[in-house]
C-alpha cells in the first residue's frame, strides 16, 4: 500500500471512496482495512460536532466528558454509601 493512501485513511479527513477503498481491499484484506479505517470514524465524529451550530467544539466536548465522569463517580459512590447506610439500617446520626 502506498504511504499516501494509509495517511489519508488515518487522517481526520472524510473517508476515502471508490478507487482508494478498492485498492486497500486488494492490498491488505478486510481486517487490516478495519484497523486503518477506525481512526477515520473519529474524524467523522469530530467533523459532525463541528457542523452542528451550538454544539460544543471537540476540546470542550472532552472537558464535558471529563466533568460528566467526575461527578458521576462522586454521586455514584457517595449516594450508594448513603443508600447502604439508610436502607440497610446500620446508620446512626442521620
Amino acid at each position: 500500500m502506498s504511504t499516501s493512501t494509509k495517511e489519508q485513511l488515518i487522517s481526520d479527513d472524510p473517508p476515502l471512496e471508490g478507487d482508494a477503498t478498492r485498492k486497500l481491499d486488494e492490498e491488505l484484506g478486510s481486517s487490516a482495512k478495519a484497523f486503518f479505517v477506525a481512526p477515520s470514524i473519529k474524524g467523522i465524529a469530530t467533523g459532525f460536532f463541528e457542523l452542528i451550530p451550538g454544539v460544543p467544539s471537540p476540546s470542550l466536548f472532552r472537558e464535558l466528558v471529563s466533568e460528566f465522569f467526575g461527578i458521576f463517580l462522586i454521586v455514584h459512590l457517595g449516594c450508594a454509601t448513603v443508600c447502604s447506610a439508610i436502607f440497610t439500617q446500620d446508620i446512626y446520626g442521620m
Binding site: P56, L60, R62, E63, L64, V65, S66, E67, F68, F69, G70, I71, F72, L73, I74, V75, H76, L77, G78, C79, A80, T81, V82, C83, A85, I86, F87, T88, Q89, D90, I91, Y92, G93, M94
Partner: protein, 248 residues
C-alpha cells in the same frame, strides 16, 4: 528555605498519618468503622479525591456548578462554557442516580414496605433522601449551614489552586485532590446530620430529577432551591476570601 519547609511538611504529614492510624484503630476497636456519618463522609471524601485527580488535567475538575460560576467570576473561566459544564455535571449526577436506583431498587422497596412509605406522600422523603437532600433543621439555619459549608470548601479549593500558593504549586501539587476530599469528608461529618451536606447543586438536582420521575412526585422537589442558591452564594464568598483577601 526550601529544605526546612519540605522537612516541616513531611513531618506534618507523618504526624497526621500516625494520628489517623491511632484514630482509625480506635474506631475499628469500637466497631463503628463501617457505619454512621463517618462512613458516608469517608466514601464521599475518597470519591471527590479520585474525581478531582481524574478530571483535573482535562477540565480543571470543577465537578460543581457553584465552583464553575465562582471560577468564571474570579479566575476568568470562559462564560460561554458555563452552561455546558453545568449541563454535563447535572447529567452525570442524574445518570449516577439512575444506576444507584437500579442497584438498590429491591432494598428501597423493602425499606418502604417495612416503614409503610408510599412514594409521593409526605413521609416518602425518608426514602427520597438517599438521592436528594432534605434538611432536618429549619430552612433559615439550613441555608446558613450550606452557605458556610460551601464557603469553606471553596476557600480551601481556591487557596490550594491559587498560583501564588507556593506550597501546592512547587512542593506538593499531589496533595491537592486528597486535601479537597478530606475537606469534603470533614464538612460532611459536621453538616451531614443537619442538612445532609450538599455543597454542590448538581449533586442534589440531578438525583432529585430522577426521584421526580421515579414516583416521589412533589416530595422530590421539596427545598430544591436551597441547595442551588446556598452553595452558589457560599462558593462566591469562599472564592472571594481566598483570591481577593488571602492571596491578593
Amino acid at each position: 528555605m526550601k529544605i526546612p519547609l519540605s522537612r516541616c511538611l513531611s513531618f506534618s504529614v507523618y504526624l497526621l498519618t500516625v494520628y489517623n492510624f491511632i484514630f482509625l484503630w480506635d474506631i475499628i476497636q469500637s466497631g463503628g468503622a463501617q457505619s454512621g456519618v463517618w462512613q458516608i463522609a469517608v466514601v464521599w471524601g475518597i470519591a471527590v479525591s479520585i474525581a478531582v485527580g481524574m478530571a483535573g488535567p482535562v477540565s480543571g475538575a470543577h465537578l460543581n456548578p457553584s465552583m464553575t460560576i465562582a471560577l468564571s467570576i474570579f479566575r476568568g473561566f470562559p462564560r460561554r462554557k458555563i452552561i455546558w459544564y453545568i449541563l454535563a455535571q447535572v447529567f452525570g449526577a442524574f445518570i449516577a442516580a439512575c444506576i444507584n436506583l437500579l442497584l438498590f431498587a429491591h432494598v428501597i422497596r423493602e425499606y418502604e414496605e417495612k416503614n409503610k412509605i408510599v412514594r409521593g406522600q409526605s413521609n416518602s422523603y425518608l426514602s427520597a433522601r438517599a438521592f436528594g437532600e432534605y434538611p432536618s433543621i429549619d430552612m433559615g439555619a439550613a441555608f446558613f449551614a450550606e452557605t458556610m459549608g460551601t464557603a469553606m470548601l471553596a476557600f480551601v479549593i481556591f487557596a490550594l489552586t491559587n498560583p501564588k500558593n507556593e506550597t501546592t504549586k512547587k512542593y506538593s501539587p499531589i496533595l491537592v485532590p486528597p486535601t479537597i476530599g478530606a475537606t469534603v469528608a470533614a464538612l460532611l461529618s459536621v453538616l451531614g446530620p443537619l442538612t445532609q451536606c450538599c455543597l454542590n447543586p448538581a449533586r442534589d438536582f440531578g438525583p432529585r430529577l430522577l426521584t421526580l420521575i421515579a414516583g416521589w412526585k412533589g416530595v422530590a422537589m421539596q427545598g430544591w432551591w436551597l441547595y442551588i442558591l446556598a452553595p452558589t452564594l457560599g462558593a462566591l464568598i469562599g472564592a472571594f476570601l481566598a483570591d481577593i483577601i488571602l492571596y491578593i
